[in-house]
Symmetry: D2
Subunit: 440 residues, 4 copies
């Protein structure tokens, strides 16, 4: 990246968007903070790189991309409405897009629940934006109250006439998804997530304070919803990735158990100092949280290869050398009956593995496109809208057969994972229903 033509601007080359040009000094300063640079050390897709070897990209590029797409969407909406963009609104929206993932921790969704139970990455993001950080300093240095406003955009607490700005950051049609579907499709090598971003953006418009597709854009809207549908089932829920997540969480739980039992002293050689508060189960301060990234966890696992506890050493080797657990695939009834689980556990134990770490149930669920449910939680289920030639807004599935086919049909997969060594025997005993093709 570099400045050109005397103006202070930064140009990033990006595999997805080609050039990302940043010219607002606040955005440039935000990118240069240690908290944002830390995103370079968090993989976007956690353990998925074990399944799709190209998926080694970090949240840094995705965050730049989301900010970039926000700029394009805003410019389009202004053009469609024949208006000038309010520069302050533009900065606010782009800053929110840039920072929306800044509270993620190592291995993202895979480790979040065990690392800081009860505190999700959204809360950490709010803490980073409004807490004692360089990011807050940059925002407040530009305009007092800006940090709080950015947090309000992220949390959906803007006044009603600006609710659409929040939805562009976080809803079913947001710049987060627009970037990550394309980015993850590119890096994984999966083709499913591709859609034509330029065309999608150029069919959006702003009607009555709502972002909507014009009718011309229905094929683009369908393409986008399908991309999401495929990426979830072919990539994000891939059984190998889920297995690697499971092994990682098992390993972490085992070490925590040893800590609880006094068998793994936290000041000993087996614990990277940065991980101590997490393994101790103590409350974690913001500074401690931000000090940790994928490298600390990976470094710990590499050391744990030689851990005296055989479960820790085995799970570490399984994780690093990709001898993962394997699914014994279940079709509905989605929830295996208790006696099935008990028998599986018995069998696993008899073969020498502790079922607490080696016989694990995993549940994935997705609705490709949710209709609006008035009483539902904010954001997630806000409908995607289309506007007809007369300016009437309609919910997307009302005007598209294809979307209607995908809407509201939740797809649940429940898998039982066990060591490969025991899978065949178990599969035979449990008489599982035939595996569905293509992981569908």
């Amino acid at each position: 990246m570099d400045g050109r033509q005397g103006r202070v601007e930064k140009v990033f080359r990006d595999p997805v968007h080609d050039f990302i040009t940043v010219s607002h000094p606040v955005l440039i300063a935000l990118i240069d903070t240690p908290e944002f640079q830390r995103l370079r050390r968090l993989r976007q897709l956690g353990c998925a790189f074990g399944t799709y070897h190209g998926a080694e990209h970090s949240r840094f590029g995705h965050s730049l991309g989301a900010m970039h797409v926000m700029g394009k969407v805003l410019a389009r909406l202004a053009r469609a409405a024949g208006l000038q963009l309010d520069p302050d609104l533009e900065l606010l929206a782009q800053a929110a897009a840039l920072l929306h993932d800044v509270g993620h921790g190592p291995f993202s969704h895979g480790l979040e629940r065990v690392l800081t139970p009860g505190v999700g990455h959204e809360q950490w993001t709010r803490a980073v934006v409004t807490g004692p950080t360089s990011i807050r300093e940059v925002l407040e240095g530009y305009g007092p109250g800006l940090a709080a406003r950015v947090a309000a955009v992220l949390d959906g607490e803007l006044p009603g006439e600006l609710a659409w700005v929040h939805r562009l950051v976080s809803s079913q049609l947001d710049v987060d998804r627009m970037d990550y579907l394309l980015r993850d499709a590119l890096f994984t090598g999966a083709f499913y997530g591709r859609f034509d971003l330029e065309r999608l953006i150029n069919t959006l418009t702003l009607v009555d304070g709502q972002v909507a597709f014009t009718y011309k854009g229905l094929p683009n809207a369908e393409e986008y919803i399908l991309a999401r549908h495929y990426m979830y089932w072919q990539v994000y829920f891939h059984k190998t990735t889920r297995a690697q997540d499971l092994v990682l969480r098992s390993l972490w739980r085992r070490v925590q158990e040893l800590v609880r039992q006094g068998l793994h002293p936290l000041d000993g050689p087996w614990t990277p100092p940065t991980l101590r508060p997490f393994l101790a189960g103590e409350p974690v301060a913001l500074e401690q949280y931000l000090a940790v990234d994928d490298h600390d966890v990976m470094f710990a696992i590499k050391m744990w290869l030689h851990h005296p506890d055989p479960v820790v050493a085995d799970l570490s080797a399984r994780f690093l050398h990709r001898r993962l657990l394997k699914p014994v695939w279940r079709q509905p009834p989605a929830q295996p009956q208790p006696q099935v689980l008990e028998e599986a556990a018995r069998l696993v134990r008899r073969r020498g593995w502790d079922p607490a770490y080696y016989c694990l149930l995993d549940r994935t669920e997705d609705v490709a496109y949710d209709l609006y449910v008035p009483a539902g939680p904010a954001g997630a289920s806000h409908p995607i809208l289309a506007v007809d030639a007369h300016g009437q807004l309609q919910e997307l599935s009302q005007v598209s057969d294809i979307i209607r086919a995908l809407a509201r049909r939740a797809r649940t997969a429940v898998n039982l994972y066990v060591p490969a060594e025991v899978r065949d025997e178990l599969a035979q005993r449990l008489k599982p229903v035939a595996p569905q093709g293509a992981g569908r």
Copy 2:
């Protein structure tokens, strides 16, 4: 990846080649070894991810890609000659391509010379292939002597009639370059490295034991040489990447210096155990070498942020938060005069930095395409050949104006890097020649 249709084959989705299918059991077993899986933890382009944020890809994908391209080239050569491929030769060549980078260490070229001085990655690769490793076990398990033969392909010690196989792994026209130019172009987002691989391969033929372009393929050959030319100057030699490499080596040298002075005890908390032999300057055993990857170094740098030595702490922060050294760019005469360097050092020191770590000369050099020099070292300067309609082989620059323009014209850049804080003052004092546009 997964097996399909009952046959044991592995399919990898790849961002560059789409599908990479591996069916030979030896190749599958090699990929599954811990030594090969370790390549997932070595970034292909070392520090370049700081310049091109997408360049976070590892040597794992590149190694698969090189093996894949080898398979395609061999199939093409057989087809062009109307022959059947010898399966043993195919395995040998593909294994060599797969393993050609298996001896790389953390941060590749950036750290190689300081990490194990005098022992390059080629030597480590030989050690991995022929030493006490799972890789050797797999190879010897298939056929006694196979490990030595793979090493011979890598080292160019095959009998003369098979010299072309070595050159396909390592020469100016090899599967290594074919993959990395495309892969690095994709991940960096630079467009320069793109060329049409299918067409390139489909214009190759084997004449008198030499791989050559047919005349039809001259535009493809030119495109390939140009891709290399651009990637070197726009990506591999990018001044920001070079700066990050310099800071990394400065940091390492500083810690080593403290170790020598007894100011950094190797058994203390500041040294990840895996790095001890390297910092101690002791001979490093293969097992110790393979235990280390990018994560160990990154974890150390993150801890060194809080190191008591201010130079170590400062350089660590510069590395992690990207406050790098900046070039004071020099045109030829390439080698700055001693008094210029002395004055620069004086100035840097006066501003409070130790020039040994903050005033650094960097030299990059490239010849886009080398003509054959008979007495030269094996491999590197072996010419690329073209075959005319009468089966006569000619050196490429004899038949292409464009190649001739690039051949043998070494381009040298020598830069002096200093802290940004002192660059302007220094630039003024040293009266540098005007910066060349576009790093050209």
Copy 3:
């Protein structure tokens, strides 16, 4: 195109498939016949070039493409089954694919019904393959009976165990569609028709004499069906193209009417000699049919610009200068009530136009994907199949929500076209339902 490396083979560069290599001498000879070369003079999409200016491509490229795709599909099916291809079957299938459109006439579907009423292009194709032509000569010269066998493939009269070969030429999953969707998408610039041909082909297999998708290929199958769905509604049924077709047919009918009334002598200067038998309404001999292509019709229309009959002159100018009829769009009930049509005709006539030529009803209908209807006509409604991990064949919509959403839902559009000059008045009087956005 040219021969390479001494073997007799022809290489065509193709915008869709890159290289199309033809090596069988019979295929090369078929391409060189005057009857096949004539396809260069028939636009693939008739009048669509007036709507999508890029759609100027001929049936020549499409026919080569269909043959090329057939070769790839056959190779895949053999590879999936672990079999060698029967060279005679391969020739038969590729020849049928190459020749499947050889009986088309000028402006294809747009003019077919008025040019040789009651004789469709399929019948002409059979006549070309089995009649006194160079094509028949080439086929019979290679093997007596081959012409009849090619015709049998085209007509679906192969013995049952080879029915799949016919279906690859003409069914809902055939090489014809595979090529034309991609080709028309490329040339029109519409993005809808794109799908990943390589992946599609690589998920096909042959089970119990039926071509089927493997479960892995469901996303590819869906992508293909969606491509067809979009192309029909966005391109093939585009209202401007339909209008240009209508004007062309009106013009032709008018000239025929004048001929019948003795007002347009066929031996006069207003009739290109080649068009005489068609305008005379006489039976047309094969030789006469093949002598005519788009150029004859275009040349006639250019001359008719100066025709003494004002309707002929006006319609010719409308066609050439694109002052077409405009739709007064109707939603269901699809069939306008008689009194509406009568009123429209009255109005058009009052404004000075003969409604027989200027007030025209157009009906388009499509089912994106038909389920199997056992008693239905051969070919058209043969279902697309998917094969699960146990080798069970299932109809595609049984295993795909998306296909099910598109299946069997016929979409009908009926439009009334009138001169632009009268559209607004007519629209107001007829109180048409609001136009559907995007022609959906």
Copy 4:
């Protein structure tokens, strides 16, 4: 295409540029004139469709494309200079780009010299713009004198400070080339002509009234010059295309000769009325010129298949069924010696062909990039400029090794074409130098 959102604008989907949006009413009206619509009936690459079957595209799309690229270049230059565009200048430049090819005749360069000898398409273009046409009417209707100003842009007669506008329409770096290289590369399926248009445009700037590349753009400039280099030698000068041009001109000359001898009466059935003035060798009026397009010539050739003169009938069949003349390829000395030509003619005649029509010399010449020659003709050799970081303009080859390699090196190919039936014998007798591979 259609209007959107109430504004009067036309949107064309284009295979090269995706969407081409036209909003200025004058440009829309120009496109709707019969003279511009006529460009739909002139193939962009004349006979090249016989070599590259995809190259069936017309000058209509190219002209739209040139206008579109002009809009993008102007917008970039304004943005780079921080200026607002003058709407009148924008209209002028875009109209000139749109109309620059409006004077082309059937089969373009292939037939131009024999159709209206001494009057090139540039003169016809001026006549269309300033003569009694709908185009002139539209221009003058908007602003008196506009037609003359458009002609001045096309002819390079603008005042000096606007000379760069002319050069954007016609020079070595103009919107004509930018569009046709990409368009012809796409439609032919040749990959050589591809370059990154967005990047190219985004590296242009306006310095001292001169369009120039910034230094950052050197790789883009090189890519563009190489694209031109390859397209000339691989596509535009392809020997099969040249052969088809030769046959076409031979045929035309033969018919003209028969007319002169009174053996082909112009009012007889063998002459489409529109072609009479051309075959008569009379001066051709603008109206007569515009009445003729590819269809008239193709229709005539199809009729001439049955012409009583055997040479006319044979050449027509050769043209239509692609039994073309074949080159006997000559390396330098470029100009065959007279006795060689005489012997060739003797041999051709002895085998029964009239050498005046069947033994033809063809000369192609190109300089990939011309340096500036001060006294040279306007336009063609105006150099491409690059601007360094200090605002200094430099001629492109001064700063690029690759351009320098291509500059000023004229490549001449002279071929003698004869019937295939006699080529081998002739080749043997004339002892031709070995054919250069790949037409290089």
